[in-house]
Symmetry: C2
Subunit: 316 residues, 2 copies
C-alpha cells in the first residue's frame, strides 16, 4: 500500500532506490535471507554510499538492522516501523538479529539506527489482532515506568483501540521516549537498567516457545507473561492485590488473553529454563512494587513460578 | 604444537573448554564456517557464561571475533595471536569479518576483544615467509608514525629477522601501541585518523585481488603497496628521494618483494577501482611527507598512479 509512494518520494529526492521485498513472517529472519540480501547489495553497491531503510514491522526491522550492522562492518540504516509493536518497541533500541533452529535471535547485534520515523497513518492497515499485540508492549511500558500513561490507557481505552490518531501518537511518543532513555543509559544490558524492559518477557517468551510459536503471538504471550509476573509480585508480597487487579483489568479491556492456550505447564517451565537470559543456576525476574516501580529479584522458588503459571492455564 | 598445553592450562583454571579447529586458510573466513561454529556453540552453551578465545593467525582472529560479535548479540572474546602479522596488526583494533565471493571482509563487525595476549614464543614456529609478511606491517607502522622504530629496524634488522625475542618484543609493543592509540581515537574510521593505517593498502589490496589472492601474500602485497605509495608521494613533491630510497632499502633488507609478479597493470588498476574504500568518483591515498608524517590526498591523477604501479611490474 505505501511501498509505491515511498519509492516515488525517495527517487524524487534524487536517491537511487533498490527494493528488496521480504515476507513479513518470522521465517524471513534467517541468516540465509540476510546473506542473500547482502549479495544483492554487494552487486548493486559499486562505488556508492549506501544506506538501508527498513520499512515494515518487527521482522523487517530486525533483519534489515542486522544486515546494516554486518555489511562492510556497518552501514547506516533508518527504521520506518509500520506496526504499533515496532513503533513502540522493536524499532527502538538497536536490537537486531535473525533466528537459528537452535533459538530465536541467537545471531544478531546491538546496532542503532540513525533515525526512527513512526507515523500513525501506517497503523490504519493493521488488523485488530496486530493492534492488540502492540498494546501489550504499551501496557508494559506504562507498568514499568509511567503510571500516568497507565491511567491514560484506562481512561481513553476506547479511543486508543478505535485507532484515534491523537491518542495513538501520544502513547507512541511516551513509549519511544521511555525506551530510548533506558537504552541510552544501558545499551548492552550491563547495568540492570535495560533489564526492566524484560518485564513480562521471561514467561512470555516461554509461552511462545512452548507452543513452537504457533499459539499466541508475541503481544498475547507478553500479556500473559505480565499477568504471571504480576501474580508472582503479589505472592512475594511486593505488590498489592488492588494494583494487580487494575493490571488484569486493563489487559482484559485491551482484548488480550488471560489464559494460555495450547501449552502445558511443563512445556512452559521447560522453555523457561532454556531461555538465553537464564544464566547459571539462578532464575531472575523483573517484578513490580507499584505502577512505575520495578524490582529485579533472583532465585524465586520454583513452586511460586509454577503456581502463577498454573493459574493462567485453561482447566484441563 | 601449543593447543594441547593451552587446553591443559585452561582446564586447570576450572574453565570448561571446547575446541573448534579451523583450517588457517582464507577459505575458513566464510559465513558458512561462522554459522557452523555458532550452531555448535548454541548446543554447548546451555545456561553457561561463555567466551571465545581466538588462538591462531589473522584468519582465526577475524573469524572468531566476528562470531563473538554476532552470537547472542555479542559475547566477550580474547585474541591470542600466534603470527607476527596478527600480533602487530590484525588482532588489534576490532576489525572482524568473513569473505563473500563478491569481496573480502564484506560481512563483518567492529568489535573489540577484552584482551590481546601476544607472546613472542609463538613466533618460533613461523616460516621465514610468514615472518616477512608481518614485517611489512611493522615497516608500515614505522613509516606512518614512528621514525625511531624505522631507524631501529634499519640498525637491528639482523636480530629482528633472526627472531631475537627482545627485539621482536620491542617492535610488537611499539606497533600495538601505535595501532591501539589510533583505533581508540577513531574506532569506526569516521575522522580520517584510522585512515592512515591504510598506507600501502590501497594498491596492496589491488595487487592481492589482481592475482586472485594466489600471487603475493598480504605482507608482500603491502610491501609493494608501500613502494607505490612512496613513489606517488615523491611524484607529487611531498617526499624526498632520499627518504623514498631508505624505505625501498628497508623493504629489500626485509626480504620483501619490490616487483609485482603474476599481475598486469590493467588488472591492478581495475581491482583498485573495485576497492570497497573507493567512494564515489574520487580516489583517496594515504601519502607521506616524511617518516612519521602522513597526508591524505584525494584525486591523484590516474597517470601518476599508473606510472608508479608500472615501475613495480617485471619487464614484459
Amino acid at each position: 500500500m505505501f511501498g509505491g509512494r515511498l519509492e516515488k518520494i525517495l527517487k524524487a529526492s534524487g536517491l537511487g532506490v533498490r527494493f528488496k521485498l521480504v515476507a513479513d513472517t518470522e521465517k524471513s529472519k534467517s541468516i540465509e535471507t540476510a546473506v542473500s540480501v547482502i549479495r544483492d547489495l554487494a552487486h548493486y553497491d559499486r562505488r556508492k554510499q549506501v544506506f538501508i531503510l527498513a520499512f515494515g514491522g518487527g521482522v523487517v526491522g530486525d533483519l534489515a538492522g542486522f544486515i546494516a550492522s554486518i555489511y562492510k562492518r556497518g552501514i547506516p540504516y533508518i527504521q520506518v516501523p509500520t506496526t504499533l509493536l515496532a513503533q513502540v518497541d522493536s524499532a527502538i533500541g538497536g536490537k537486531t538479529g535473525v533466528d537459528l533452529a537452535e533459538g530465536k535471535n541467537l545471531i544478531g547485534a546491538i546496532y542503532q539506527p540513525r533515525l526512527v520515523l513512526s507515523d500513525v497513518r501506517f497503523l490504519k492497515t493493521l488488523s485488530r489482532r496486530q493492534m492488540r499485540t502492540g498494546l501489550a508492549e504499551v501496557i508494559k511500558y506504562a507498568i514499568i515506568k509511567d503510571k500516568e500513561l497507565f491511567s491514560y490507557l484506562e481512561a481513553r481505552y476506547n479511543d486508543v483501540f478505535r485507532g484515534s490518531p491523537d491518542e495513538l501518537q501520544h502513547i507512541i511518543k511516551r513509549c519511544s521516549k521511555i525506551k530510548a532513555d533506558i537504552v541510552s543509559c544501558d545499551e548492552r544490558e550491563e547495568k540492570k537498567i535495560r533489564t526492566i524492559l524484560n518485564f513480562g518477557h521471561t514467561v512470555g517468551h516461554a509461552i511462545e516457545a512452548a507452543s513452537s510459536y504457533k499459539g499466541h503471538n508475541h503481544g498475547e504471550a507478553i500479556a500473559l507473561g505480565i499477568l504471571v509476573a504480576s501474580d508472582i509480585s503479589q505472592k512475594v508480597k511486593l505488590l498489592s492485590a488492588k494494583t494487580a487487579q487494575r493490571i488484569e483489568n486493563l489487559i482484559r479491556l485491551a482484548g488480550l488473553p488471560r489464559k494460555i492456550k495450547k501449552a502445558s505447564l511443563d512445556a512452559v517451565i521447560n522453555a523457561h529454563y532454556r531461555d538465553k537470559k537464564f544464566i547459571g543456576a539462578k532464575n531472575r525476574f523483573v517484578l513490580i512494587e507499584a505502577l512505575g516501580k520495578t524490582k529485579i529479584i533472583e532465585n524465586i522458588p520454583l513452586g511460586i513460578i509454577r503456581e502463577a503459571i498454573r493459574k493462567r492455564l485453561n482447566p484441563a
